[in-house]
Amino acid sequence: MAAGQSIAFDDVGFAYGAIPILSNINFTIEAGTISCVIGPSGCGKTTLLRLVAGFIRASEGAIRVSGKVRTRPSRDVAVVFQDYQRALLPWRTAYENVSLALEAAHVPRAERRERIEVMLELVGLPNHARKFPAQLSGGMQQRLQIARCLAQEPSILLMDEPFGALDAMTRAVLQDELLRIQQKSALTVMFVTHDLDEALYLGNQILALKSNPGRLGRLVDVPLPYPRDQLATKEDPTFLHMRRELFSLTHGGHQG
């Protein structure tokens, strides 16, 4: 897998017509790190992610990926959409859905099979290759989408509340899988979540947004060591301390 790239936000602003959605966003995501974006609903987290993806262009400032201004989507930046049902091709099997990424990269047919099987294995779906998305559970569908994104061999992985609709068990499993894959490949990950615990558990850095217009509330480093552990990390005094400190920031946002 390609090594990560850095993402720099240089005074980024975005508006839908006259309505400012994001303004004065300044920060950098180092190559090979995980940055978690938190903030109240509607503050512009998805918009920020879509800017990095290249679906929309910044109205002000620029986003630079390894120094190059981002203008359009590209294969080295994978996007894990929140609504995984809509992001999979319902007429293709799990196997064929992963294959799409390889077909797009013009991987010769002979090489595809093995790589698809490796990807399905990686996300724990090796026995479901011939099933259609509709025959998979929500958690399996999301894992399938992640498999396709990884098959794309991105250097940046953008994830928009990827585990939001999943049960706590599946969620914990997928969090650990993500960490394992990221540690192994040095992907750069930008991870949007509503969940402060999830952000602290996964991130090297946390970016807390404020609403109206969306702007940087706080940017904090998470000094917890990797590999992280669902029990030990969440009982770590640093974790608990940071959780307390950031809690008001995210939850206060709903009232303010």
């Binding site: 930046v77 809509r86 990269a105 509709a134």
Partner: protein
């Protein structure tokens, strides 16, 4: 959906036929337009045996299918391109809106002058009738493709052709098949109408001759054949539709 054979429509049909026969027999009607079903069936048998009905049916079917294939192919292609590219949609909107309300049948004289009587003229009129609904229905189907899937295509940097082939066409396939059923009926309607109005071939023309020669039994026999052809076409499209909508459930 019931699994067993659905016999009810046939019961109704049989009752109606019996009523028809009985009514004509009772009043000893000698009509130029009506004949008892027995005579119609006998005439139909004779027409089948001497081959005239088969020749005529083949002509009508050929024109219908050629017109349908060409018209729906062109219409779908134009609908696809204009559904994906806004400038193209804007460019063709004027011409489409001007030409679409023109009744295809009104083109028969013009087409006759241009192509003469025969297959070509009939096919062109059918193409004209079929192409507009195909453009409009395909366009709206393409616009209804989930934008999320198009974003997936963007992220993967699919070429225009791959995007159409791998994302757009499979997405719109069910709607296109419904469209085909819809315009299939239009194609047959236009074919028969053109034959009734002027073109000297096919079932419509034979029916016309039978009527003008005061052969109500023969006229009705052709009507039966046209009805059967309509049913068969519709049945074929329904089968296609059913096939297309049944998910491929080949779970391992």
């Amino acid at each position: 959906m019931s699994k067993g054979f659905n016999y009810r429509p046939f019961v109704v049909l049989a009752v109606l036929l019996a009523g028809w026969h009985w009514a004509l027999g009772l009043h000893h009607v000698e009509s130029d337009t009506l004949a008892p079903p027995g005579k119609v069936v006998a005439e139909l048998g004779r027409l089948i045996l001497d081959g005239t009905v088969l020749v005529a049916a083949r002509q009508t079917l050929l024109a219908t299918l050629l017109g349908l294939a060409a018209g729906s192919f062109l219409g779908t292609l134009i609908g696809l391109i204009s559904g994906l590219a806004q400038p193209v949609a804007l460019a063709i909107r004027g011409p489409v809106e001007v030409l679409r309300p023109l009744p295809a049948i009104a083109l028969v004289p013009l087409m006759t002058i241009t192509f003469g009587l025969g297959l070509a003229m009939e096919v062109y009129v059918i193409i004209f009738a079929v192409i507009w609904p195909c453009i409009i229905l395909t366009q709206s189907a393409v616009r209804a493709v989930d934008p999320r899937l198009l974003e997936v295509a963007d992220v993967l940097e699919l070429s225009w052709l791959a995007r159409v082939w791998k994302i757009v066409l499979p997405s719109v396939r069910p709607r296109l098949i419904v469209m085909l059923r819809f315009v299939g009926a239009i194609a047959l309607l236009i074919a028969v109408t053109v034959e009734l109005v002027s073109n000297p071939w096919g079932l419509g023309h034979q029916m016309m001759i039978a009527e003008e020669g005061f052969h109500p039994d023969r006229m009705l026999a052709y009507l039966v054949v046209i009805t059967l052809m309509g049913w068969c076409l519709n049945w074929a499209f329904v089968a296609l539709e059913r096939h297309a909508f049944t998910p491929r459930l080949n779970a391992n």
